[in-house]
Symmetry: C2
Subunit: 214 residues, 2 copies
């Protein structure tokens, strides 16, 4: 299927479609109309049709979508039919949480290595993967076809390490450090700024309290 | 300062302004023009001015913004001048990572309690906070003025627990479970769907590879 230039807003919604369709499939649902999907997901049916039209529409309206087919196709668009090797840099609680998350493997993301500068952690294992010292990072990324680096380290080290990763062929960085990274074109960055997310929540709490006399 | 109805897109950008202004302040910068801020943050100066105009503009252009003032004002808009008590539900690696994150405290988010159903974990401490059994959750939330519940548990339990939280007066849920929650109006939800974020990264890797002959 040929894709046109798709906005990041649309891309951002695809995983949620994928998640709902996977659940429908697991429940044995075979077909679903955009209206039913709309009620389930609480987005408008016209939004759904518009989003899907970016990818050719995925089958006829009125008759509804084939759940299995739609699930598979969106999975392919997301690149989940391919394998991607990843390493986690930072073996603290957050790094360990991500390393232990089995579902990533189910989606084609293969946990290959973990790195930390803390000598006490080196040699330990997280789900069968050895924690290595930072001095091994560059050669490991180069020699093991690592696509994605997950950064769960403080912001000062993150900036330094990104250059090393880029020089050794990393394709993408999943960034949990509280800093925006500068990378060359062609290296993808997805930020998870947890503090930012909590502040947004804080705004919405206070906004609501103000409007409703606390 | 009176606020108009502000779009969630603008709200979503405020924490990033706050983060940059905090860094500028820490570096001793006193004034900054929207042009300089624009170069630093890689957004257009007109976007910055538009965003700030939602809140009255924060001072004269040309002359630049007072960094300290702007930082304080955005902090107030975000509600960071108030204290919010939170509990974490789920004492696994992700819950522990969030419990150990000191910066939340600096922003007014106070870690009060942690809950898990695993008997082995109950009674342990995370940064001085005791892990309690799930049967204590409801009374604890009610009696300790808990505003925010952080959910780091599987999706099936998340749905159940949300009802209990809502019935006991929770104001907001920071949701790391892989499910969209149904809450009554007035309860704020901020989702961190980590799988969705990783899938977006996957899309962008594959898109780039296709466009550039792998």
């Amino acid at each position: 299927m040929e894709e046109k230039e798709i906005s990041q807003a649309v891309i951002g919604r695809l995983p949620r479609y994928f998640r709902y369709l996977g659940e429908l499939r697991d429940e044995g649902v075979e077909r679903i109309s955009s209206q039913e999907l709309s009620e389930l997901m609480k987005v408008t049916a016209s939004q759904i049709r518009q989003d899907f039209n970016n990818f050719g529409g995925f089958g006829q309206q009125g008759y509804g979508y084939n759940v299995e087919y739609l699930y598979e196709e969106i999975g392919k668009i997301l690149g989940l039919d391919k394998k991607h090797n990843f390493v986690i840099i930072g073996a603290g609680n957050l790094g360990r949480a991500l390393g232990n998350y089995m579902n990533f493997e189910r989606r084609g993301f293969i946990f290959r290595g973990m790195f930390d500068q803390d000598k006490k952690l080196i040699g330990q294992e997280v789900r069968g993967v050895k924690i290595m010292g930072m001095e091994e990072l560059e050669s490991f990324v180069r020699d093991n076809n690592i696509d994605i680096a997950v950064l769960t380290i403080p912001k000062t080290s993150a900036v330094e390490i990104v250059d090393k990763l880029v020089n050794n062929g990393i394709r993408a960085i999943w960034n949990f450090a509280h800093v925006d990274l500068n990378v060359p074109k062609g290296v993808q960055v997805e930020n998870v700024h947890l503090s930012d997310s909590l502040m947004k929540l804080s705004y919405n709490i206070n906004r609501y309290m103000k409007e409703n006399d606390r």
